[in-house]
Symmetry: C2
Amino acid sequence: MTQNVYDNPEFFEGYSQLGRSVEGLDGAAEWASIRALLPNLKGKRVVDLGCGFGWFCRFAKDEGAASVLGFDVSENMLARARATSDPAIRYERADLEVLELPETSFDLVYSSLAFHYLKDLDGLLARVHATLVPGGQLVFSIEHPIYMAPVHPGWSKDPDGRATWPVNGYLDEGARTTDWLAKGVVKQHRTIGTLLNMLIRLGFTLQHVEEWGPSQEQVAAHPEWAEERERPMFLLVSARK
Amino acid sequence: MTQNVYDNPEFFEGYSQLGRSVEGLDGAAEWASIRALLPNLKGKRVVDLGCGFGWFCRFAKDEGAASVLGFDVSENMLARARATSDPAIRYERADLEVLELPETSFDLVYSSLAFHYLKDLDGLLARVHATLVPGGQLVFSIEHPIYMAPVHPGWSKDPDGRATWPVNGYLDEGARTTDWLAKGVVKQHRTIGTLLNMLIRLGFTLQHVEEWGPSQEQVAAHPEWAEERERPMFLLVSARK
């Protein structure tokens, strides 16, 4: 089973205070870029893999989705999601490593920053492909491999004093353990090539690949984000069955 | 016009001594990975954009290609290519920024480490798409943006003494000037996302994306290449019309 770090009290306490937890989707700097990849949700059957507090599920319902199903491994997250939820949204506890999905049943599979926790992403993506209707869409974000690869992730300075990200280990895929909100958070590093070839091999057609960092406009509004343009933080992908 | 660094005598002298110049395709460490992306060339109409000394053109002819056309901007390179060439291969001088290609005329467009010199890559790729027959294939290598992005490209050490590549400027696309074989070589940095979305928008279907570094087997044979696995050096792409 995937490490369930969200039910670690220290992690959950820290996570609950992030902008994306308090303010919802608009508190996530990458949300506008993800939203631009989404289809019109009216009448769509939507599943969210790693739904957390349910912000995206509620958004999808508000946009007119016919049905919304959110899965998460964390009891803490699901309890919070259910507390504020529309009864038309269904939340279920599941480990994405082994989650079974009904065949040819969804128009959109969405996932935000969950796939990098999975060891057997290939297995999940095969089940995602099978659960989508023909023409259905997968839209997801994942931590960018540049961000995740280094043995010692953290800013240093180049000879001009400019913030620099110390990339190494990029081609050595596998577990990366970092201390973020709690000690010993385990994520799975994969190259962009590995991820995209996995999707292609499973039968997806790639529609959009975005190495996300804040836009110049966002940096103007939040000058403290400037160094986040030095290397991408997230990878956003849209693919069609 | 693109900077024609290959006709700079100092650059050409240095380039002529590289393994890939002396030994041909097998002298390029990434060749086996590129070759794996190629279709069976028998009977195919092939064009090589940035053909250099003509090693790939001769390979394609030897593999049974029906016709082979090589373009390069460098008179020096073309003179060397023509000196050893099969008369069935045609070499022409061309600036890829403005090269016109006949419509629906080729089965394979190949390019090795040339596209990163182009300012208007979008324009060239539109002409490549138009020149391919339906089902035709584009296979190319390009310097990896991780390799190209930094203001100060060059190895440093992390706290454990492990080789580290100083990524910054990744999201700021545009010219990068470095001293490699000669001073002031200008290349154009683009993110992987920008490159792939350009191909998708032009109507290509992505087939394979590989962030190339030497394999563990290659490092065993050439221990001095070990640090090249810390970050990818090249990006290899196969796309179909």
